[in-house]
Symmetry: C2
Subunit: 199 residues, 2 copies
């Protein structure tokens, strides 16, 4: 006995989502059948609209439904600083922090030769062009994850930018606020000692 085709299709579709196996997909498909018609229509439309209406901002690579994203088109933001992040979600995290009011550049990935991701595959070229066209920028903050790929991408970008005499910085590494020293890994501890500050 197989499920009726429309249900089988929906189960297949749910199974393409990360972390959703056959059991969960089946449960979700049956749940969908019992959802109010309007909710299902909204869901269906939202999927298509995310694909159709969301694109990368041509300036910074952030995701937006407008021609240029809200941050790039806001003249009140500090035009002298660009923070380079890996993903739009990283940008959101800094925006939620609320202390940073400069601009961003979203790479949409990091260099990872093992996965075939070189400089051409991520938004590095557009960053360089942006810096060449724009004399206002005084500092580039490399806010990449402290993974091996993130670190080497940061090194690569800093080498490209340095000749332009723009200040290149990276985020401080150290203990997470609220964390226990005994559970910190040794690289984090090493960085925390190296970067110690005067009281």
């Amino acid at each position: 006995m197989q499920y009726p085709l429309p249900i089988a299709h929906l189960i297949d579709a749910y199974m393409r989502l990360p972390g959703v196996g056959e059991k969960t997909a089946t449960r979700l498909a049956f749940y969908t059948m019992d959802m109010p018609e309007k909710d299902v229509e909204d869901f269906s439309k939202a999927l298509i609209q995310v694909k159709n209406d969301i694109h990368q901002c041509p300036i910074c690579g952030n995701i937006t439904e407008k021609e240029v994203c809200d941050i790039c088109s806001n003249p009140n933001r500090d035009q002298t600083t660009i923070m380079v992040v890996e993903q739009p979600k990283d940008l959101m995290a800094f925006e939620e922090m609320g202390e940073y009011d400069g601009l961003y550049h979203v790479l949409h990935g990091v260099l990872s030769p093992m996965d075939g991701i070189g400089p051409e595959e991520i938004n590095i070229k557009s960053l360089i062009t942006r810096l060449q066209k724009n004399d206002d920028v005084k500092e580039v903050i490399l806010a990449l994850n402290s993974t091996p790929e993130g670190e080497s991408t940061a090194m690569y970008i800093s080498k490209l930018i340095k000749p332009a005499e723009i200040k290149v910085t990276r985020l401080a590494a150290g203990l997470s606020v609220g964390s226990d020293i005994e559970y910190a890994n040794s690289i984090t501890l090493k960085r925390a000692v190296q970067g110690r500050t005067a009281l």
Copy 2:
């Protein structure tokens, strides 16, 4: 900073699914953005089709995209036995077992006065009408879950059917095959002793 509207809508839509909170919904929404366009279109269509094309079989209440479901329209199935189940998923479980070739009747729920679910809210009336119209049926198997609601629904239906001199049976209760006696609950053990069979 808020997410662009199309993403916010999709996050909302994912959050309506059971077991999906804001973090998971956000992860799924970002994942959706990176999915191939065709997959997203298929997903979107599958949602609508499940709502539009799937309905209850007018005879047995099973879900189907055809006018009458595959089981009711199959003349090779044993027309003398009807197995009453709570949900289409229960029917699927018996079909996967493969040993039963009679007909089904899907209640789509159980009596639960606490939740305002009375006989009118589930497919009991259609079962009685079906039995009245059809003299072939010799046995009704009540295959409801052994929850308090399932048990009382079984009692209710059996009282309605008995006057028609149709045999009413229910599934054997006992130890799950492969399970340990030490972990079985006492009601299960009681049923297993009561229903012991000769070797």
